[in-house]
Amino acid sequence: MQQALLAQQRGELARAIALYEAAIAVDPANFDALHMLGVAHYQSGNNASALTYVEMALQLRPEVEAAQHNLYLIRQAIGFLPAAGEELCARALPRVARMLADPAGSLDALRSAREMHIVFACASSDDPLVRSALRLRERIGQVSLRFWAPVEGAFERALGAAVERCDPIAGALPRSGALVCVGLERSLVSWLPQMKPSAVALLAPAGASNRLLLRRIRELADEGRRSLHLLYAGSDKRSQRIAPGLEIA
């Protein structure tokens, strides 16, 4: 153990790991070896193994605060809480998805508006969502269309069309018609209450985060949007199971 600790202090992590493993082979209930093996794996960036060994150590001595703290660091690094949070959101999504209209009627609901506004709430114009928005435009057909972005961005080049900037303070906002929100990253609630859209659709990326899906659907529902639609940019079996939407492929 002494040699292993020395090796670990010197940064010789591979050697330290081998020495801890040897110590565990002799005594599988060696708390210190299991704990420090976990820490050495954590230092090597191997978080999955780090989690395994620190959890095994804590099974032996659950009261050791240093090990609890290390477990906390590893769980953070491995993204455990975000993963568990996503699981929680996945369980909540079907309950929220009841607020959505039947995807079979989504295109007709958007077509029936005199004017359609596509608002980019995604990170950049490189996003595959932008291509999906263009395909949506093709599928909708003959409706007057305006593009908006809540931030500065090079959307014009990607779209080959003018993009207006939403600026609620200056009063630059879509006012009526149908609204398609492209992406889930940005909240629209700071200005959406000022617009009276006839239908609102969220265009979500394939593999969307449950957390963002849940949040955006709820926000729009809270605004009292009744004709609320979910579209997916591409095929997404997992999301379709928990929140059905129309695929724009």
Binding site: L60, P62, L88, A92, R95, V96, V189, R215
Partner: protein
């Protein structure tokens, strides 16, 4: 004392909401903060600090109320009762004999209205200018002088006598907000007991509010601990991921779901602990740019968190100790309230009622054989079940739930067909597959001289498919199979022989972990951990190993005498751990044979790189271990005192001491 004491012996869980008796002016606040000050002054001035930040919170149904009005208190109680809240926990501001914010409770006591259960929590923090209990500028401090112990309880004794006062174990429930701030808690408890005895009432059941996950107030002699989310949470802030964050913001933003998950994945504690949930939290109203904000709270997420909390309380506590707290009923300046607001209306309250309704049936239990047969009859019509091939009596029935595994089924089926030392039948229950799984099985049935029964049903989960499939088995021995795993050659012959030669009712083999391409998996963390547990079977008792992990790995590794199923029933409605639960339960009734050869090939899919540690997995393993440990004093394998003592010592050593029933903890 309270009628609740009796009513709640039926296993239901009481939900108690923390209640802030503010919202009326008092001379002290007039002096400290300005004439007429109430919490509403803070609430209305809050504003958002980032895109999507929900502020200010504006009250709906009850308006900006004044708690001096009895009709407001009546409305609150009516709303709470209607939505499944069983009581309020009023903060009791008591500073060395001086009480603050006492008028609402005093009037509740004096008038007998509203007729709604309550208890109190001694808010024993210093009263400061900071609102969050940190001692920056103390306006009114706690001294904990010896004579105050007596004065404190003397002031409470008349309150405890109220017929509405909430009791646990026939004792009035008293919460202490910061028990660790009290320098001599034992002396306080002794004084309280003495005064209560002298007054002829039961001494209080004292629960301490936790400031961190690990804090154990029962060390101080208290009866229980109470969680108090979000206090103590350890999720990483998401502040730097927010859009439109005001440059002046110096606070922290935490994701609501991360925080809930942090509370839900805490290990079972050896002390009695009441779970708590919070609908939301955002103290922008008090702290402005230095606020702590839980972002992304929604009624549906709250509802699911509360469902878990209710089930945890049911599983971990007994009798009327089954309590769940909600922080809070009306902490409007902490953006933390069940009371309706303009954005969500009564949806958080409705979430409480929904969660209680959904969990009213209690924890999932294993169905008896009779229940399994009745359920299968109810779900399946004759037309759903098709038999193909010979109908001679088989020696082994292979029962296989199938769900969307068309890619792996040919390999699975071939490995079953290969078990030709025995006469077998295959019972495949298609659990609502949307791929070509059923066609793959049909074409297999057409080509092989094996009796195949195919049943189709809507997706109901593996446990339901297993239970129903078991009722169709005709052979005296049943082998379970997963539709993506592989039987090694000679598996069924070896395991049925183990049943016979070792006089066992249940057998399982060693497991080889394989990937999607059938290649053995090396250093996968899940496989590594399980292999380490399985290796212990060579030297340790099966039960010692089985409480740490499901060393059979999956239901597909189980070979069971049908008579055992008929005797003890099938699988509980647990989506992840039904197999582990079954094994632990079976250990009470069956001799279990382990065959170390790697005769079971369990597939780890590319997608699940880290399959341990899901919320549902935490929850299920906690309830099944709780259930297993509850009766260990009656376990046949632990019948002699030495074996039981060794088992309890072992459970403690591996961190499962919290599951050992209290009477055994001291003896062993």
């Amino acid at each position: 004392m309270s009628e609740l004491t009796v009513r709640d012996r039926d296993g239901s869980v009481r939900v108690i909401a923390f209640y802030l008796p503010q919202y009326h002016p008092i001379p002290e606040n007039d002096a400290w903060w300005g004439k007429g000050f109430t919490e509403w002054n803070n609430v209305v001035r809050a504003r958002p600090w980032f895109e999507g930040h929900w502020q200010p919170h504006q009250p709906a149904d009850l308006g900006y109320y004044d708690l001096r009005a009895p009709e407001v208190r009546a409305q609150q109680a009516a709303l709470a009762r209607e939505h499944g809240i069983d009581g309020f926990c009023y903060y009791w501001y008591w500073f060395n004999g001086t009480r603050l914010l006492h008028r609402p409770l005093d009037e509740v006591l004096a008038t007998g209205e509203p007729d709604f259960p309550f208890c109190v929590c001694w808010a024993n923090e210093n009263w400061t200018r900071r609102w969050d209990g940190l001692d920056e500028e103390i306006l009114l401090g706690q001294h904990y002088a010896a004579e105050d112990r007596v004065r404190f309880i003397d002031d409470l004794i008349p309150v405890f006598r109220d017929r509405r006062y909430i009791a646990v174990d026939r004792k009035p429930l008293l919460l202490v907000y910061r028990p660790f701030a009290i320098p001599d808690m034992a002396a306080h408890l002794a004084a309280w007991r003495e005064r209560c005895a002298a007054a002829g009432i039961a001494s209080p059941y004292v629960a301490g509010v936790k400031q961190t996950h690990e804090e154990d107030p029962t060390q101080l002699g208290l009866d229980a601990a109470v969680e108090f989310p979000p206090i103590g949470q350890r999720a990483r802030p998401i502040t730097n991921t927010l859009h439109g964050l005001d440059a002046g913001f110096e606070g922290g933003v935490i994701d609501y779901g991360h925080m809930a998950a942090d509370f839900l994945t805490q290990p079972r504690r050896a002390w009695i602990q009441f779970p708590a949930v919070t609908p939301m939290w955002d103290n922008t109203a008090r702290r402005g740019q230095r606020a702590i904000v839980l972002d992304g709270s929604q009624p549906e997420l709250f509802e699911i968190w509360l469902e878990y909390a209710l089930q945890y309380a049911r599983s971990r506590c007994k009798g009327d100790e089954r309590l769940v707290f909600v922080n809070a009923w009306n902490e409007w300046a902490e953006g933390n309230h069940l009371e309706p607001d303009l954005r969500y209306g009564p949806q958080f309250l409705e979430a409480v009622r929904n969660a209680k309704t959904r969990t009213a049936q209690g924890l999932p239990v294993r169905p008896s054989w009779a229940e399994m047969i009745a359920e299968a009859h109810e779900v399946w019509c004759d037309g759903d079940i098709r038999h193909v091939g010979p109908r001679s009596t088989p020696e082994v029935s292979v029962v296989m739930p199938v769900y969307n595994h068309e890619t792996f089924l040919p390999r699975t089926l071939a490995s079953i067909a290969q078990q030709d030392e025995l006469q077998i039948e295959l019972i495949a229950i298609d659990d609502g597959s949307t791929d070509r799984s059923v066609q793959v099985i049909e074409s297999f049935a057409a080509k092989h001289a094996i009796a195949v029964t195919i049943v189709r049903q809507e997706n109901a989960g593996a446990y339901a498919a297993l239970n129903r499939g078991l009722t169709l088995a005709r052979a005296p021995v049943i082998a379970l199979a997963n539709s993506d795993d592989v039987y090694a050659p000679g598996r069924l012959a070896a395991l049925t022989s183990a049943l016979d030669h070792r006089d066992a009712d249940l057998a399982f083999s060693g497991t080889e972990f394989i990937d999607d391409a059938d290649v053995p998996v090396g250093l996968h963390p899940y496989a590594t951990t399980l292999r380490a547990h399985i290796a212990r079977l060579a030297t340790e008792d099966l039960l010692h190993v089985l409480i740490r992990a499901n060393v059979a790995v999956s239901s597909g590794n189980l070979v069971i005498r049908k008579a055992l199923i008929e005797r003890i029933g099938g699988f509980a409605a647990l989506s992840i751990c039904h197999d582990w639960d079954f094994l632990l339960a079976a250990s009470y009734h069956a001799r279990i044979a382990h065959v170390p050869e790697l005769l079971y090939r369990y597939r780890l899919h590319a997608a699940n790189t880290y399959s341990g540690g899901t919320l549902q997995g935490y929850f299920e393993s906690d309830i099944l271990l709780g259930r297993f440990f509850d009766a260990i004093a009656q376990h046949p394998a632990l019948a002699d005192a030495g074996a039981l003592r060794r088992f309890v010592d072992h459970a403690r050593a591996v961190g499962l001491g919290a599951y050992v029933p209290p009477p055994l903890r001291d003896k062993a």
